[in-house]
Amino acid sequence: MTLYEGETGKSYRIHSIVTKEELAARLRALGIREHATTVILSRRKKGAMIISIKGTRMALGRKIAEGIRIREEESDDHGIPAKETGRQKRRNGI
């Protein structure tokens, strides 16, 4: 799935970045790279979203969010579902 399809409050791992090479390089420089964990903090209907990644918050437009492929974080060893883990992580400011 793409980052645009992600849900607010959930934690995801970036799988790949499928967009123009120049933009992909820019995203990587901003810390939006493959294997990085990100949390969607806020989003506007059919619009931009705010993600937390590597200790910073980034505002991303829809077109950019659609170019970032993500996977949901696996549930942890204690059996807490991924949704809970996402909220927990957000609370911890990751």
């Binding site: 820019r26 990587r28 806020s42 506007r44 910073t56 918050r57 980034m58 505002a59 911890n92």
Partner: protein
């Protein structure tokens, strides 16, 4: 060695400084880092300069240089626009790349925001691949510590190939001498061999985190970035800024205006008693005194506006507005980034046009440059306050507020129109870092306000002074020579020539046409022009001015039409000059001029005709 601060030496003197005595040639040191990592704050601390700082990415859009002595060595520091990577760049970042690649800089000081080490190290890695010697300056250590981030400086230096890593506190001027010393030392002995290229690994080895995000920060984030509450919060902030500037500032304006006209009266009687020539008294009191005084009386209104804008800029809220307004700006074919220069436009059009460099594409940049002058600048505020105070004293605040909204609305429609002409897809490419909210630094706010106030007062002392002199000459000289009746003066001739064009807008009074013409030099001139042309000495006496205007056949409908014309017609000469410089295009410049004139004329005619019919 002792580093003396502040040492103000302009870069232009580099040559002569270099060859004084047995000095070594100046060392060129470029400050390079991500946007909003505190480069300009560090630059100001190192050189004693006063470049503008703020808490949002993209404050610095041009390169600034200044030199300082370090012992007997001259170091020329360059403050470059922020950059995320050397591989690619947007318009304002090109200059930074050139500095590094062309070898203009002898040493690169990589400024790192210690509160976001992961992201900052990407650029460090790229710099280490270049030939240039690198020193790392760890900035914002206090912010990092309060966020629970601790960096092992010695270990970080080792991981980066033993390059110097220096912690700096620019506001307290700590660590600056050490930084300069390291820059001098690496210039002769470059280091940075075999650095660790795995950023995750470096972070794991050098950074420890032990704090959760505070509840207050989380709550503020949720409020300011919420899809619904965020927009309401933004609307409230803007309303507070506007009504505080208008309400609180206006009270003090009355007091200052009364005091100033009292002073002019005393001066006039003093000069009369001293037997000074009548024409000189007329020049000093009616020309310069009234002209400059009417502009200076607005200092309190603008002081309040500038304080609030500075607080917004330093708190980190500006970037959030870009996100909140992203949807609305897409209507005008811009991404949310456009919100930053446009908001600056409420202060002054000149920095707003400059800030358009932060836009992603050339087209978006030109569109922002077209739209920025419609964000009613602080110099136009005195005109609205004067007209609304005279004709709509009961509803002056709402009248002025509507004018601001009209300006923003016209800008949005023009943006939309221009994006339709260019047949651009309105896809959403917003990409912007959102800095954490913080309490504004009182010193930064004071400095910011002081600079803007100085600019305003300087303008009153130069452009307005010269404009008032010119206006006095035009009023007192006519084809028949000095002492001509005011109706026969050059100003009247010029005004009469222009007034038929303004007749459909209800502005066919030569005095009004002449005042609007002087507004092309500076918008405040319209106020001083009206006071001087209608010969009212009392700078704040609305009744006196109202009587003079009414007797000239200038009613409420004309006043509204004039306010709209003043809002929409071409910005002042300084702003037009910057538009010319920033677009580098004769076509853009003249099309902007034409659009401004046409829109202003059309809108004021519409307003006037509607007013007299309904």
């Amino acid at each position: 060695m002792i580093m003396e601060y502040p040492q103000k030496k302009r870069a232009g003197k580099r040559e002569e400084m270099a060859f004084e005595g047995d000095m070594m040639p100046p060392l060129s040191v470029a400050l390079i880092g991500n946007p909003n990592c505190g480069k300009t704050t560090l630059f100001n601390a190192l050189t004693g300069e006063e470049r503008k700082v703020g808490n949002w990415p993209g404050v610095t859009v041009d390169c600034g240089t200044a030199a300082a002595y370090f012992g007997d060595r001259v170091i020329e520091f360059a403050d470059l626009p922020g950059i995320y990577s050397l591989d690619f760049s947007m318009s304002e970042e090109q200059e930074t790349k050139e500095w590094i690649h062309s070898g203009r800089a002898d040493v690169a000081v990589n400024v790192i925001d210690a509160s976001v080490p992961e992201r900052s190290l990407y650029l460090t890695q790229e710099l280490l691949k270049e030939k240039i010697p690198v020193v790392v300056a760890l900035n914002r250590m206090d912010a990092a510590e309060s966020a629970g981030i601790f960096i092992d400086i010695k270990k970080l230096s080792e991981e980066l190939g033993n390059i110097p890593v220096i912690a700096v506190w620019p506001r307290e001027k700590r660590g600056l001498g050490e930084l300069s010393e390291s820059a001098v030392s690496v210039s002769s002995h470059p280091r940075g061999k075999n650095p660790n290229t795995d950023i995750e690994d470096i972070i794991l080895k050098c950074v420890t985190r032990n704090k959760e995000e505070s509840r207050r920060e989380k709550l503020l984030d949720e409020l300011t970035l919420h899809p619904v509450w965020g927009v309401l919060f933004f609307a409230c902030v803007m309303a507070i800024v506007f009504f505080a500037a208008f309400g609180a500032g206006n009270i003090f304006r009355g007091l200052l205006g009364t005091a100033f006209s009292g002073f002019l009266d005393i001066l006039r009687s003093g000069l009369c008693e001293a037997g000074v020539y009548t024409w000189l008294i007329s020049l000093l009191i009616d020309g310069v005194g009234t002209g400059v005084g009417s502009v200076l009386a607005f200092i309190p209104v603008l002081a309040v506006l500038f304080v609030l804008l500075a607080v917004l800029e330093d708190s980190g809220y500006m970037s959030r507005t870009a996100y909140v307004m992203n949807g609305a700006l897409r209507f005008a074919g811009l991404s949310g980034r456009g919100c930053l220069p446009l908001l600056l436009g409420f202060g002054c059009t000149v920095p707003a046009v400059m800030a358009a460099r932060i836009m992603e594409t050339c087209r978006a940049r030109r569109r922002v440059i077209l739209m920025a002058p419609y964000m009613s600048c602080s110099a136009r505020l005195p005109v609205y306050v004067m007209l609304a105070g005279v004709f709509f004293p009961e509803r002056s605040a709402i009248t002025v507020f509507s004018l601001y909204m009209l300006g923003a609305g016209v800008a949005a429609v023009l943006g939309r129109f221009s994006s339709c002409i260019c047949r651009e897809s309105r896809e959403d490419w917003l990409l912007l870092e959102i800095p954490p909210l913080r309490l504004p630094d009182i010193r930064t706010v004071c400095k910011n306000v002081r600079q803007r106030m100085e600019d305003y007062i300087f303008k009153a002392g130069t452009v307005i002074f010269a404009g008032s002199l010119l206006l006095w000459v035009l009023l007192n000289f006519g084809p028949s020579g000095f002492g001509a009746e005011i109706q026969e003066s050059y100003a009247a001739v010029l005004g009469r020539f222009l007034s038929p064009l303004l007749a459909p807008a209800g502005l066919d009074r030569w005095r009004i046409a002449a005042a609007l013409l002087t507004g092309l030099a500076a918008k405040e001139m319209i106020v001083s022009g009206v006071y001087v042309l209608y010969g009212t000495g009392g700078l704040c006496d609305s009744r006196e001015l109202l009587t003079a205007l009414i007797s000239d056949g200038f009613g409420a409908a004309s006043a509204l039409s004039m306010a709209v014309f003043c809002l929409l017609y071409p910005p002042c000469m300084a702003a037009m000059g910057v538009i010319w410089r920033e677009t580098h295009s004769v076509r853009s410049f003249f099309s902007a001029l034409f659009v401004h004139l046409a829109v202003a004329w059309g809108a004021s005619v519409l307003v006037y005709q509607l007013c007299i019919r309904f």
